[in-house]
Symmetry: C2
Subunit: 104 residues, 2 copies
DNA sequence: CCACTATATCGATAATTATCGATATGTGCA
DNA sequence: TGCACATATCGATAATTATCGATATAGTGG
């Protein structure tokens, strides 16, 4: 469930940070932050949790359809899945938003 | 945290149902479903969980600012807090939505 | 004040989530 | 092939959430 993935503050924050990788993450040797995404170890430095925890967080975000991963060499780069995020936000709006309200 | 309140499927569904009380809940002796809201026992019948669980769910939704309660006699009526819901949806959009993207 | 109903709160336990260290897997390079 | 690094997965434990029954609180009517 997507909401569960987002209900963890760190995961939510990672997703937020990934909107502006250059702003929140230090550059990495290989791979472009914007085009390719941010690799696990760079994210880990920022959140200061164990490597395994961060890796699991990213897997969860990916299963929720909120990020995508790409392997380049020994690194796995994660970046936002904008389409998936949009789909989720739209659906949430449909499910709990006020909906059509006739002002007649 | 609002997302945690919504991360439970039943609570999410209750919030959804409360958009159309007449459709999802049986009429109650006292109080208008639309104007006043739906009382705990009526919601409880629908979700089929214990009274204490339902009461706690509603309290959580209220703490999250997603519903409001009104006491009428011995009943407590819950209805959506549309302003609070809107605020939450807008904030979520700000926090994880794609944001301004210059197409220049 | 007393029963009766509706709701809230408390305390306990089961289920899930958070988080870690250890280890496995995958990749680049000598 | 074998070491070094990045990431993933596993297994364990701590922390949080789900859920209940019991009980407390509040309001209604006699």
């Amino acid at each position: 469930m997507i909401l569960k993935a987002l209900a963890n503050p760190i995961r939510l924050q990672i997703l937020n940070w990934l909107r502006e990788p250059h702003r929140y993450f230090s550059d990495q040797e290989v791979g472009d932050l914007d085009a390719d995404g941010v690799c696990v170890s760079v994210i880990q430095r920022r959140v200061n949790l164990s490597q395994s925890t961060v890796s699991q967080y990213l897997t969860e975000l990916q299963r929720a359809g909120l990020v995508q991963s790409k392997r380049i060499g020994q690194w796995t780069y994660y970046r936002r899945d904008e389409a998936g995020i949009r789909r989720f936000l739209d659906e949430l709006e449909r499910v709990i938003g006020q909906g059509e309200e006739r002002t007649s």
